[in-house]
Amino acid sequence: MAAFVTWLRETAVSEAFRVPQPWLWPTFESLHFLGLALVLGVAGFFDARLLGFMKGIPIRKAAEFLPLAKVGLAINLTTGLYFYIASPFQYSFNIAWWYKVSAIVLAAANAGFFELMLKTKMVTLRDDEEPPISFRIVGTLSLLAWLNVLYWGRMLPFWSPPGGGADL
């Protein structure tokens, strides 16, 4: 790990992300929070619907807003990758970052499961029909996973290793 991080930190890309553009980091941070709002807000809205709230909206119609969450996720994966490449030490040895990444993997696996296994059911569900319990489980896991992503992301500066945040 240390060898990889040291190598990455020395690459021209990492250097270019870091040195000549002091405004790039704050700009990407801002975008990262915008993406956060889209992911948490829109995925949270859909999860709440899976859990049985807002029954007036059929689940397949609530799903029409999910592209917004996907846009947010795309923004955040891009900007997140930038942070990591620009400042790999700050994250690689920070336990909060590993929790965050684990939660992202869990959220993605959960969403993938829904997409592959439950989407057909969602589309054919009658408007007045109760969804199977699996919908509630997916909604709960998704909500918990994304809240963990946010929480551990926020904890990054408080758990950073000694001198770990010195990059920027």
Binding site: P26, E29, S30, F33, L34, L36, A37, L38, V39, L40, G41, V42, G44, F45, M54, G56, I57, K61, A62, E64, F65, P67, L68, L147, L150, Y151, R154, M155, F158
Partner: protein
């Protein structure tokens, strides 16, 4: 003014928030402030994008409840925001970007409540096209909330802003 700011920042409460020897002080309050941000801006994004033509099969009336959730998110952020301000009052009060953020929030709230009254509160045909001014308000709301996020994020850079 300076005296007042310092008196709240260095009050027992202000000191506990800023440096309390527990993860439940500053870090947790900051995390809650971020959850509130996600709720407020996320709900607003759904409502605005609905006005702009996304999810047209969802009747407006069924989305009205989102305004209430948004309001709860805003209440959470008003409270946590005030607490975060107290913990750093003598610094934050002199950051120009802080007032830019407040201005954006004010404009965004004004726009969102206007959307609630003129678009969601009326008997508009839920499947018909939105009037031009409704779309204008929706775009304005998105821009104002984005501005609030960016300004809030930049408050972390005390040296520059």
């Amino acid at each position: 003014m300076q005296e007042f700011l310092e008196s709240i920042q260095y009050s027992a409460f202000g000191l506990w928030v800023a440096g309390g020897d527990t993860i439940f002080a500053y870090p947790t309050i900051l995390a809650l402030h971020t959850v509130g941000l996600g709720i407020v801006v996320g709900m607003s994004a759904i409502l605005d994008c609905r006005v702009l033509g996304m999810g047209r099969s969802v009747p407006l009336v069924d989305l009205q409840g989102l305004f209430r959730i948004m309001w709860w998110g805003f209440a959470l952020n008003a409270v946590t925001g005030l607490v975060l301000f107290i913990a750093a009052a003598a610094d934050k009060a002199y950051q120009k970007i802080f007032y830019v953020k407040l201005a954006f929030i004010f404009l965004a709230l004004l726009t969102s409540s206007r959307i609630r009254r003129t678009v969601f509160g009326t008997a508009l045909d839920p499947n018909g096209p939105m009037p031009q001014n409704a779309k204008f308000l929706a775009v304005a709301s998105l821009v104002f909330w984005m501005g609030a996020i960016v300004a809030g994020r930049l408050m972390a850079y005390t040296q520059t802003f």
